[in-house]
């Protein structure tokens, strides 16, 4: 997938909707900008919600969720 630089994002996928909701609650307490979006059809046709964020935030997101919510996968998405 080719992205324009400014459009480059990651999405974090989780094992269940409950996991996503837990992750959302944790991230809301931080000042990190993120967005809840439906899992893009190009990634999976399952009905699901994931967390979209800017590329440079990936390590901060990992460390905030570390030990609290298990991330299934982080995928590049634009």
């Amino acid at each position: 997938m080719i992205c324009e630089d400014e459009d480059e994002h990651f999405v974090a996928l989780f094992f269940s909707v409950s996991h996503v909701m837990k992750a959302e609650k944790i991230l809301q307490k931080s000042d990190i900008p993120f967005k809840m979006i439906p899992v893009p059809k190009t990634i999976s046709t399952d009905c699901g919600v994931c967390i979209k964020f800017e590329m440079q935030l990936v390590e901060r997101i990992r460390s905030l969720l570390d030990g609290a919510v298990e991330i299934k996968e982080i995928i590049r998405y634009c």
């Binding site: 909707v17 996503v20 909701m21 959302e24 967005k35 809840m36 979006i37 439906p38 919600v49």
Partner: protein, 197 residues
């Protein structure tokens, strides 16, 4: 008496409405249309109004012939609802949750829904927010960028003023028109289609 109508280039449902209006005065109508939706609508109208329907394809158009059947008078009053596949929809957001059930799940689904609306092919002409739905239009709701994008792409954003007042979020609304019950009821009443998650 016969008339000829050129309905090519007209948006649905105009071709069939034109034909219907001419049925009062003409027993024979020739219509030119350029799409199958108009063809099908006129065929259904003919069936319900006592007109014999036939057509031939000529190039990219259809030449339709309608002839009033004997002993039939067109009432012109019967209910006929044209079907237009591309009609614009109005999205009604009556809550900050999608569906009933778990509150957190409902809120999550609603965010995903609003985001998805921005990507719809048949783009809605309006989106109306009322009751706790107005909370989505307030700064920090998590869908502000989606609502901005909807507005940018030409979707009218109507926000219930009474509700904004009740939830006391007037200062937090950046995008959209603070609206009233008259506009909201009128928008719903004149909607081609209502989409309510």
């Amino acid at each position: 008496m016969k008339t000829i109508i050129d309905a090519r280039g007209l948006a649905c449902p105009q071709p069939v409405i034109l034909v219907k209006n001419n049925m009062k005065d003409f027993s024979e109508i020739e219509v030119l249309v350029d799409n199958e939706t108009a063809l099908e609508n006129i065929k259904r109208l003919a069936g319900s109004s006592g007109y014999n329907f036939s057509y031939e394809k000529s190039g990219d158009s259809f030449r339709i012939n309608l002839i009033r059947e004997n002993n039939q008078t067109s009432s012109g009053e019967e209910a006929f609802s044209p079907s237009c596949p591309g009609v614009k929809s109005v999205v009604v957001i009556s809550s900050d949750m999608m569906g009933n059930g778990d509150v957190d799940l409902g809120r999550l689904l609603m965010k995903a829904f609003i985001h998805t609306v921005t990507t719809l092919e048949n783009f809605p002409e309006k989106i109306i927010f009322y009751n706790s739905g107005v909370l989505l239009t307030a700064d920090g709701s998590g869908v502000n960028d989606d609502i901005d994008l909807l507005a940018e792409k030409g979707c009218e954003i109507l926000i219930c003023g009474t509700c904004v007042n009740y939830y006391n979020i007037k200062d937090k609304i950046k995008t959209g028109t603070i609206s009233n019950m008259y506009d909201i009821a009128n928008s719903m009443n004149s909607a081609g289609r209502i989409m309510k998650p």
